[in-house]
Symmetry: C2
Amino acid sequence: MSRKVLLISSSRIYGQAYMEYCRQELLDFWGDVREILFVPFAIKDWDGYAANVSRFLEPMGFSIKALHTQPDFKQAISEAKGVFVGGGNTFLLTRTLYEQDLIGLVRERVIGGEMRYMGSSAGSNVAGPTMKTTNDMPIVMPPSFDTFNLVPFQMNPHYQDPQPDSQHMGETREDRIREFHQWNEAPVVGLREGGLVEVEGDKATLKGVTGARLFRAGQNPEEYLPGADLSFLL
Amino acid sequence: MSRKVLLISSSRIYGQAYMEYCRQELLDFWGDVREILFVPFAIKDWDGYAANVSRFLEPMGFSIKALHTQPDFKQAISEAKGVFVGGGNTFLLTRTLYEQDLIGLVRERVIGGEMRYMGSSAGSNVAGPTMKTTNDMPIVMPPSFDTFNLVPFQMNPHYQDPQPDSQHMGETREDRIREFHQWNEAPVVGLREGGLVEVEGDKATLKGVTGARLFRAGQNPEEYLPGADLSFLL
């Protein structure tokens, strides 16, 4: 399998500009592909979102083409060498991907190695088999929770460790992922802000400045540090 | 309209036993109705959940009958003077309510004034028109996000204010509710842990030990203190 996939926990980390902390990982991942088709569906204001992403990524040497400005979405994807699916609300993103009938086409081109895929936050959530490990509020209803299935594991971006001094009685993130595993089997990568997972073919590597916590059904969670080989998840 | 509805943000507040902080509100609300039909669907382990709820509520003078131990769920609801829908995962709760075909029946009996309704956390979420303002993870897919519609406003239980010293880059609760209002009209009561909303007919009152933050589409959020009259939301 010749897929090339970069899954980012969050486009920003505290105190830094958009994608600044992972600039080198982006340059390494994209290599000589410099025209990126940007999918703005996770946020309502497509124009504003695309302008903002261009403002940060173009100075890094990328050329950003926004999908919604193209006359034919499917044709634009069929011709793209790479897509970037930005963050926002995962329910809205998934609903819009279904409305535009893009799930199968994106998957086919990424799995076939014809198009690279970069996702951040909601865009990372939908790279897995389902969007069932999103943190987002279900503000709209998609026809299905099934997503791109570019990798066989689930992403939980913006992963937060339990706070020992918290007086909040709602579930911790770990509680929620444990509930997910009462009903689902796929492993979940709890990716802290500042973390990225890069997949090239059958090799997966944890990158970035923070570690990840891996949750598997019926097993104790495990910690992985940047640089860890996660290929066993593929 | 003769409905009697009690919506609780959370069954526990920090450092206190189950429902201890709102014991008096429960006694006031239930009055001479002391047999409560408990709906455990928001958690996978129905037996364990019902046993736990009984352990805390029976010493307060209530008799707890668990819905899943009844031979006929619909008949049990048709005969109940009151139900309590407990917290857990709102997606799981809603899916199970649809599987058991109970949405219409519960609504009809509560709106008709024949059965009182108490909900906590996920059980409060489903009292509104939809479950679209839950905080929970979408671990299973319900056939619809439409819920009991016992009141015309949405509940956001476990409401948390933005933390000024947070370095987390994920959306605040307020951000999420603002996104909800980009696509939906219903007002949202952000009910902090320790807060309750009591509805009797056409009168709604904020009770408990914490305030609530009210979000309406296109308006600035507003703060309400315990004791506030929220009848204008009905």
